[in-house]
């Protein structure tokens, strides 16, 4: 049995926006981790969670509207991933596979929220760490503007402008063509700018 030295997750900030959180660039190490997890070693899966949860949260947060829903989506996604781990081919990129699961879990939560009418739900306090997106007028206006955007456009603009995903990656995550992701981004930017200025000066 292969023994793996588990190391703390490494998180790097790179990319064109200088904010993109990347998964570790250690494919062999990660493949060994996946193989160990597939054999049932929980510590190996725990290490995978440690490495990928920030990026998974970012993907989820781009799709759902609240921090709490993003947390739920991340937890659900890792649970799905654990259950389906025996079907995952270790030669593939674990991160890409996981992100698709996260996106699906997030979309599922969004659909459920629609049914339940989230506005009527009481505020849930899952952790002492509240959504950092609070206070400040610009943030409030931006939040209001984002709520008026179609879901898909909101997800596309956040995944692109905040997380630095490419159009093709966004297309794969959301199950839409790359060209659609590109046009969604354009419309989302235009709409947000227009909405922000309308909210700022409604007259």
């Amino acid at each position: 049995m292969t023994s793996i030295a588990l190391r703390p997750a490494s998180v790097t900030l790179v990319g064109r926006t200088s904010r993109r959180v990347t998964t570790p660039d250690r494919p062999d190490d990660e493949k060994a981790l996946v193989l160990s997890a597939q054999r049932g070693e929980l510590e190996a899966f725990s290490e995978l969670v440690r490495r990928h949860q920030r990026r998974a949260y970012a993907v989820a947060r781009a799709i759902v509207t609240t921090h709490e829903d993003a947390e739920d989506a991340v937890q659900d996604a890792f649970l799905h991933a654990y259950r389906a781990l025996h079907r995952f081919l270790p030669d593939q990129a674990f991160g890409a596979w996981l992100h698709r699961i996260v996106a699906n879990a997030s979309l599922d939560i969004t659909r459920r929220r629609k049914v339940r009418d989230a506005d009527d739900l009481p505020e849930t306090i899952a952790s002492p760490f509240r959504d950092p997106a609070e206070s400040d007028e610009l943030r409030r206006l931006l939040r209001a503007a984002l709520e008026r955007l179609p879901e898909r456009q909101r997800a596309v603009i956040v995944l692109h402008d905040v997380e630095g995903f490419k159009h093709s990656e966004i297309g794969q995550l959301l199950g839409i063509p790359e060209g659609t992701a590109r046009s969604d981004l354009h419309y989302a930017r235009s709409a947000l700018r227009r909405l922000l200025n309308q909210l700022r000066s409604p007259q």
Binding site: L42, F129, L141, L192, L196, R200
Partner: protein, 137 residues
């Protein structure tokens, strides 16, 4: 008399930029504002707690397959085994039928059966004819 000046736009432009491929300053400012809004929690304790909650759900039973999933995983193997058993049973059945048919042929055409009986009967008839001839003399 007071004059209401329109508030300056939060981001430059009115959202009708000509080309989707050429982001302008307004897009950059918008992206900056979005990043501020969507900042992920930074405290290591938060991520440790989230990891713990995920692992708790997995080890708490949610991560393990439901009982009906396990038989489902064995279903493919069972189907293959059943198919193989069917093939073996079929070939054995055909083989035994062929043997039975052969035995039936043998019982009809083999020595000591129909053919020789006729021959014996013919022989008896010949002998009887001979006896009749002698007796007739």
């Amino acid at each position: 008399m007071t004059t209401n000046f329109p508030a300056p736009p939060l981001v430059p432009g009115d959202g009708d930029s000509a080309s989707p491929l050429v982001p302008d300053d307004g897009d950059a400012q918008l992206a900056s504002a979005l990043r501020a809004l969507y900042t992920a929690p930074d405290a290591p304790a938060y991520w440790s707690a989230l990891e713990q909650r995920i692992m708790d759900r997995i080890t708490g039973g949610e991560g393990f397959d439901a009982w009906w999933v396990v038989p489902a995983q064995w279903a493919r193997l069972g189907l293959i085994a059943a198919g193989f058993a069917l093939i073996v049973a079929g070939s054995l059945f055909l083989r035994s039928r062929a043997e039975q048919r052969q035995m039936a042929y043998d019982s009809l055409l083999g020595p000591g059966n129909g053919g020789p009986t006729i021959a014996i009967r013919d022989a008896q008839t010949e002998r009887q004819a001979t006896i009749n001839y002698i007796n007739g003399r």
